[in-house]
Symmetry: C4
Subunit: 245 residues, 4 copies
């Protein structure tokens, strides 16, 4: 298979994993940049991620418009277009409403990494409040101006919480953005429960966060192990584009 074929197949697997791991439900989406054209990206038509198959994927341009495709796209595709635009280092983007990330967007208590698998969220996660610049909206990112404002809040980081809504995350590969998005709610739960126990919280240090970023790559056996596990649990182990050993 071509590189593009592999990436689109991985995108289907990623949709199923995010659904099975409760990161997305009927809502939430994941996209990947076109490997041959950095101004384009792929994402499903408007469909629950659990149900996405290869033929549901649509190609989008840099303004978040479908390329020669009349099917219904996700309303919030501008989150993806704006992050791909602002961040040439980024290959894959997730937007989701994972439940345990929500409290940190609703009150002013920063979400920070406290567990090693949460290190990839970086330091304090910024919170984007659509109301600040756009007033009373339905909270959805419905155009490029809103998407760009969100991307500005994310800045050089990997994730931004969206007040009363969810989060956007970004990484250099599909496998990494899935891992980040699965462990983000777990880190949130560990931090919430530690705070309930009381006393000073031991966050990961900047040095630890850096050491972890250096220690992992999208091609390491450790990263692949999780992808293979999640795909099997989600019933699409047969769609893996390579196998461990």
């Amino acid at each position: 298979m071509s590189q593009l074929d592999n990436i689109l197949r991985d995108l289907v697997v990623a949709n199923r994993i995010l659904s099975n791991e409760d990161v997305v439900d009927a809502y939430g989406h994941i996209s990947v940049r076109h490997p041959d054209n950095p101004k384009r990206f792929f994402m499903s038509r408007s469909l629950a991620p659990e149900l996405v198959e290869r033929h549901d994927l649509i190609e989008f341009d840099q303004e978040g418009q479908p390329v020669n495709d009349k099917r219904q796209p996700y309303l919030e595709r501008f989150i993806h277009a704006a992050i791909f635009e602002a961040r040439p280092d980024i290959t894959a983007v997730v937007h989701a409403h994972a439940e345990d990330t929500l409290p940190f967007g609703i009150v002013s208590k920063p979400l920070e990494p406290v567990i090693h698998s949460g290190s990839f969220i970086g330091g304090k996660v910024p919170v984007w409040d659509i109301r600040k610049k756009f007033g009373d909206t339905d909270l959805l990112v419905r155009n490029m101006a809103q998407g760009r404002d969100l991307a500005k809040t994310m800045a050089k980081g990997n994730v931004a919480l969206m007040r009363g809504h969810g989060f956007a995350s970004a990484a250099r590969s599909l496998i990494e953005v899935v891992r980040l998005s699965v462990y983000l709610p777990r880190n949130a739960r560990a931090l919430m429960r530690a705070k309930q126990l009381g006393g000073a919280v031991k966050y990961l240090s900047p040095g630890e966060i850096d050491a972890r970023n250096r220690g992992y790559s999208p091609h390491s056996p450790e990263t692949w192990r999780a992808w293979e596990y999640w795909a099997n649990k989600a019933g699409c182990g047969h769609m893996l584009t390579r196998h461990g050993g």
Copy 2:
């Protein structure tokens, strides 16, 4: 199929979805107004919603009495009859005991929307305490007087909590009352956890709630996407009366 056939089929799907999404268990029920006779409505006989099939549905009159049907009805059918009576704008009603809504009925801390998918509960959710007017009861809504008192508390809103018991919700379509009832406990969890983190809670503003009500309809692709997803998860995707695309 006729409009009535479609509606009754949707009512079966709605029963299965509410069960699969943990909104109801053996108890709790959902009803829909008769499309041709606004003084009548349909609801299952006394049966766990997960097990409801087309032939379990009973037609009820405006006093909550079965029409030419000897089978055992739900004891609390008066919740439905009274809300249909008080609210001509309403087409579908749910009564359920979803666990995470219960705390807000037990203590005086109002349940309010904090996440975008919770916007449809409106503003502060009123709490109906059967004890206030009817003294010591078994907490069940066993007659029209109790049902009407509950409907009065719900007033023009979409939902009322019932102290120590559960909630009643209402909407202009089956699909919307299901969505409202699924996201009500999620909004409750997000609010509970935000309060545990501490600090000021950012609720949805009235303008945001209005904007969301304007942005969605029972026929929009976004609303349908969730219905299709939930039906598939509940094992009744084959019963959908239309399909996305």
Copy 3:
């Protein structure tokens, strides 16, 4: 089938329900009094409740000893023997470790009914601490003296918490002791979360608890509805000894 056959079949179903509803895991057990000999009762041999079949049931005498049966019994069968001895009004007993009941046995905060389905636990649930009378033990009820002390704490009630261990519950029928045991942890969760929200808790009043006891019977359609639902979920709907309609 004879009455005894029906009761033993119901006992198998009850084992499976308690396991599927997370009331028991590998540990915990349920017993039923012999319908023809009030000094005898039936319970499984030492086996995880999920795996119990008809031929695993053993008859026990009033001292908790197997009658003509060499198979390994549960260590804590004395809980059952002692409650059957102390309470002629009781037909069925459960002992379990359901997780969300545990906190109320560990700290001095009484578990009380706050939701209508929790009414059957009565008022404040007493806590039995084996250490008080028996000093340092392995916390297991290993003889009749310990079982009788527990039964004394339960007194005329339906349930007693066991500090650092779990609970014992009792009712006039299998169907009722299962319902009580399934809703006990749910009531515990509702109360824990209400307390976390803060403010005065509205418990069920004594009059409400009484009204609920009057309103339900083991033979009512409402009681049966839950039994049928739980049995179906546990994969043993085909073993039901009667059917709704």
Copy 4:
């Protein structure tokens, strides 16, 4: 089958149980000492425990190096090697990230046994912080020096928490280290929730912990009952090396 065959088969079952009981996910591992050579142990190659089969097991030497095997080992195999080295009384070791143990490693609130099934964690569980001796790392135990430091913190106990990472546990048999690892998070939840209720916590007394250690063995019917139950739930009941009765 030989003793070694039985042990390796049990090790496969243990991998599946730990995964099904949410103690491990893609990460975490379990090992067993070689029955004929105390300087060797067995553990899977780098693979999610749910997927481990007999042919995935690798033999390791006392420095944590694979013996005549080129396949990718787990990075953190030094946890196992160092504990086997320090503790001749130990036959099996688990390392995992079970979510509800994490808060106790992040704040200074000791994890102690409060429920009878949690007694096997001993008294206050020590917390190992890799930063104390090794500075800013990626938190992984990547060499024998780190493994030995962790084993030193565990000392003569059965478990050590690892700050921001997870825990290591050890026991005299596979069946016991699995039980300990499954009940550790349950004990953590019971303690967290008891603390949220407020008031003095009644921990197990040292005498109770001792009494429980005396009361159980890897060969008792009660210990076996849980192993059989967990194996069945994990879909590998057919791999059990003996059967109850």
